[in-house]
Every structure is written in structure tokens, then in C-alpha cells.
Subunit: 216 residues, 3 copies
Amino acid sequence: MEEILIFGGGGQAKVIIDTIRCQNKYKVAGVITNDKSTTRTECCGFPIYHEDKLPELKIYKGIVALGDNWRRSLEVNNILSKFPSFEFITAIHPSSVIGQDCKIGPGTWVAAGVVINPSCTIGAHCVVNTSSSLDHDCVMKDFSSVAPGAHTGGNVTIYDFTTVSIGAQVIHGITIGAHTVIGAGAVVLESVPERVVAYGVPCRAMHARQIGDKYL
Amino acid sequence: MEEILIFGGGGQAKVIIDTIRCQNKYKVAGVITNDKSTTRTECCGFPIYHEDKLPELKIYKGIVALGDNWRRSLEVNNILSKFPSFEFITAIHPSSVIGQDCKIGPGTWVAAGVVINPSCTIGAHCVVNTSSSLDHDCVMKDFSSVAPGAHTGGNVTIYDFTTVSIGAQVIHGITIGAHTVIGAGAVVLESVPERVVAYGVPCRAMHARQIGDKYL
Amino acid sequence: MEEILIFGGGGQAKVIIDTIRCQNKYKVAGVITNDKSTTRTECCGFPIYHEDKLPELKIYKGIVALGDNWRRSLEVNNILSKFPSFEFITAIHPSSVIGQDCKIGPGTWVAAGVVINPSCTIGAHCVVNTSSSLDHDCVMKDFSSVAPGAHTGGNVTIYDFTTVSIGAQVIHGITIGAHTVIGAGAVVLESVPERVVAYGVPCRAMHARQIGDKYL
């Protein structure tokens, strides 16, 4: 089995490592952190290495396991700046159901219990988290995410770096702009612009948001 | 494998065709439309025929793939008026879990990721959509539907032509009258009469609704 | 297969019996009730016995199938007072996904369609109901429950006897105190104290609650 690296040693890493274990396609060689102060030496039974160690490991395949979309993109760019041919895997839990004619980009994680209906296009470095679902013809652009228990109707488009939080519901045909956060449990009945925090039942844009703002 | 026809060539058809592919029990012979103006000739790789072509096809088995409950019933009646012995199949995704002593009527679709607990009775031409669940002893009458991510407690009855929209939650013991729409993300704590649009947290009947009104 | 008993003959028993049938590890020998007035003699095809009959049956293994956390604990204590070495089984539906390093206590039921992510600790006599999910590092203390379609983020702790009702969403890092009820469809953004009923979007503690108060 091909050896891969996991970037990020927190809870997201733990769940993605479990997905990879069930996927039974890649062997985790180690977990990479950029936190010099950490004293932890293992994560889920795998050694934790500081990223300075990367050249020695000679493994150029892996996935970034950070829940925050923006931080995930910074780490992807960091890796590619050092190793331009680094290859990102897709981690897909075998309990997920993926319909015909779906495209799923590199670096994307599809968690346990997910349903992705036919003709969806999911970009690179996305998170489709536990027990969420996308109906037919949805699009998730690069570095976007949907949280546990979030569901969309058909023909929904979620732009880059946008997150749909836990238990939010998005009816068919909605577009959600880039760098936006849809709050937990929101019910999205109308399209949402980019760079806002929007929440409530029904979901309303509540305030502006800058690119890279923390959302969790 | 027996050949069947799919009536309706939109997103619902796409997802039902995917269910049938996974079910691996029927062979889709074609997709039937009553839209004379369409220029599309295929859907998911299957030929699209105008319904005038039906007599030539000599296939008398299939399912109506229209999300709107009322439109679905009109098409079922239309088919039966021309071919009274036409047989409607049940399309059940193999990832769904169906408990003991459940009855599921002809023409009904059970999508991916669905859980139907024991002793439920689901009528004819219903939709139990992606990642929804019904608890024990629920009843869905003919031409009713539950949308993605909707969940019910036990002993819930959903009457004919009624829809429970995406992410709505219905506590145990509730009855929802016929021709009613429960809005997206609604939390249904009290029974809801027939022929209303009801939504909110908690769910309230907001206005009357006529039989056959569009709901999507 | 080892013979077991089910305590409680209602809807919860029906669904747990179905889980045990699918689990294919135990043989249900009968259903035990403490209701002397019942005239029912069978449940899901299994004989119903009054609990006076227990000594004769000579079966000291089983599970309590009552949805109310407090009533479930009374029945567990009742059984243990008579048979101190009675052994409670875990009933886990094979369609559920359970991550690495999870602990699940005796007497606990994990329903169909559930996802429990890695490193969760679920106590004794808990209910993880249909299509719910727990993210990584969650803790459910003894006699707690999550209802259908409820989802939690990571590092959530649900204390003893507390219930999270149907479709409620709990963001990461939240603690919910003991003997509390989180209402249907609630969106929990802040930790919730013990002994309250809390609901709404966002979820607020609405009134106090006494230990043992009925919640369904």
C-alpha cells in the first residue's frame, strides 16, 4: 500500500485517519505538524513529525486534515511551495454513497455516512463531513466544506472557502458565495452572497466577513 | 433483467435511475417525457422518448420520477388511463435500512442513506428521499414525500400528497393532514391540519393551500 | 446463539429487537413487562412475560428497551436488585459506523444509520438513536440519549440522564449537564447547565427540570 502523510494532528486528523483506515488503500506513514512547541509524539498510533522532517521522509503524497478552510489552504500552499509535485489523495469512507458522474478533487475528504447524489462536482481540498448529503448536480468549489448533518437540495453551488455548518439545510437551486459561513442549524431559502456570516431560520446574512477570518 | 421506463427526465429521474442502477434488479429501457418541446435525446445515458412513443415500446413497467407529489399523481393517472395494467416498481437504494414488517407500495422510491424503522407502512408513489428516516410505526399515505435529512419520531402519520421538506423534524405521534407542505427545517411539535403550508421552529400553519398547488 | 431478554414491550422494544435481529449475535427469548394489566401475549413474534416469571426463565442477559432515560434506569436497578449478576448487552446495528478507540457501555443501543467518530466514550444504558452522529472525542455518560437525526461536533459531553431530542444540533466543545432535555430541532451553541429544559434556535435554557421528570 502506498504511504501517505497526514498534515495536522487534531480531531480532524483523527477522523480522517479513521476514514483512511476503512478505505484500506493507503498506509499512514506519519502525522506532520508545524507546531514546534508540541510535545506529543504520536497521533492515533502514528508518529508525529515536525514539518522540518519532511525532506527526510521522502513521501510526497498525503492530505491536509485541518477543519478551517482557510488554514487548510495555507497548509496546502505551504506544502506545494516546498514540494511542487506533492500529490494530494482523496479520502473517502466506504460507508459513503457516491452517485454516478460525480467528480471529487484531490485533497478532499468524504466522511462516514455521507450521501452524494449523481452529477455532483466537488473541488480540491473540500470537506464533506459526517452524515451530510448533497442532492444531484451540486457543486462544491475548492476549499469549501459541509459539516455533519448538513443537507442540500439539488443544483446547489457552494463557492470557494465557504462552509455550511452543522445541521444546516440548503434548499435546491441555492448559490452560496465564496468565503461565507452558514451558521449551525441555518435553513437557507435564498442565495447568500460572498464574504458574510449568515444564520437563522430562515437564514439571513448577519455581518460581513474578511477572507481568512476564523470561523470555528 | 426486466426492462422498465422512467417517467420524467429531470434531477429526480437522475437520482432514481442511480438508485435503480445500485438496486441491480431492473434495466432502464428509456426515459419518457411529455414535453414536446424538449431537444434532449438522452438522460443518464438512456434514450428520452416522448410519451407518444409508449405503445411502440411495449414496456408496461416503470416508475414516475417527478418530485412534486401532485404532478406525480397526474402522470400516474395519465399512464393508467392509457395502460390500465401498467405496473409500478419500487426503487429501493441498497444502502437504505428497512426494518421488519414494513410495507412499501408500488411506485415508491427509497433513496440512499434512508432508515425506515420497523412496522412502517408507506403507500404508493411516495418519495423517501436521501438520508431521511422514519421511526417505528409511521405511515406515509399515497403520493406523500419526505425530503433529504427529514426525520420523524415513532407513530407519525403523513397523509396523501403531503410533503415534509428538507431537514424538517417531526416528533413522535404527530399526524399531518393531506395536501399539506411542511417547510424546510421546520420542527413539528403538534399535529398539522390538511391543506396548509406550515413552517418554523416550532412549526405553525401559516396559510391555506389548494389541492395541486405547486410546492417547490 | 446466546438467549437474551428485552425489557419493555413498546416501540423502543420493536426497534431494538430489529437491531438485535440484524446484529445476529443474540437470540431473543422473550419480552418482559412489569405491566400486570397488559393482555398482549407477543411482541414482534416473541412471547411477552410478566417480570414475575423471570426466575423461571433462568436467562440473565438482556437489554432494557425504554426510551425515557429515567424509567430505563429504574428498570435496570429493579433487575439488578433481583439478579445482581444480570448482564446487559450492547445492541449495535450493523449499518452503524463506529470509529477507532470508541468505548460503548453495557445496555447501550446504537441504532441504524448512526455514525460514531473515533475516540468517543459512551456509557452504560445509553441510546444513540436512528441516523444520529457523534463527532470525535464525544462523551455520553450513563443513561443519556441522542434522538434520530441529532448531530454533535467533536469534544461534546452529554452528562447522565440527559437527552438530545430529534434533529437537535450541538456544535463542537459543548457540555450539557445531567438530567437536562435539549428540545427537538434545537441548535446548541453554548454549554447548557444540568436539570433544565432547553430549546430553540439558538438553544436557551427555558425552565428548570426535576430529576425523573417525564420528557416525552
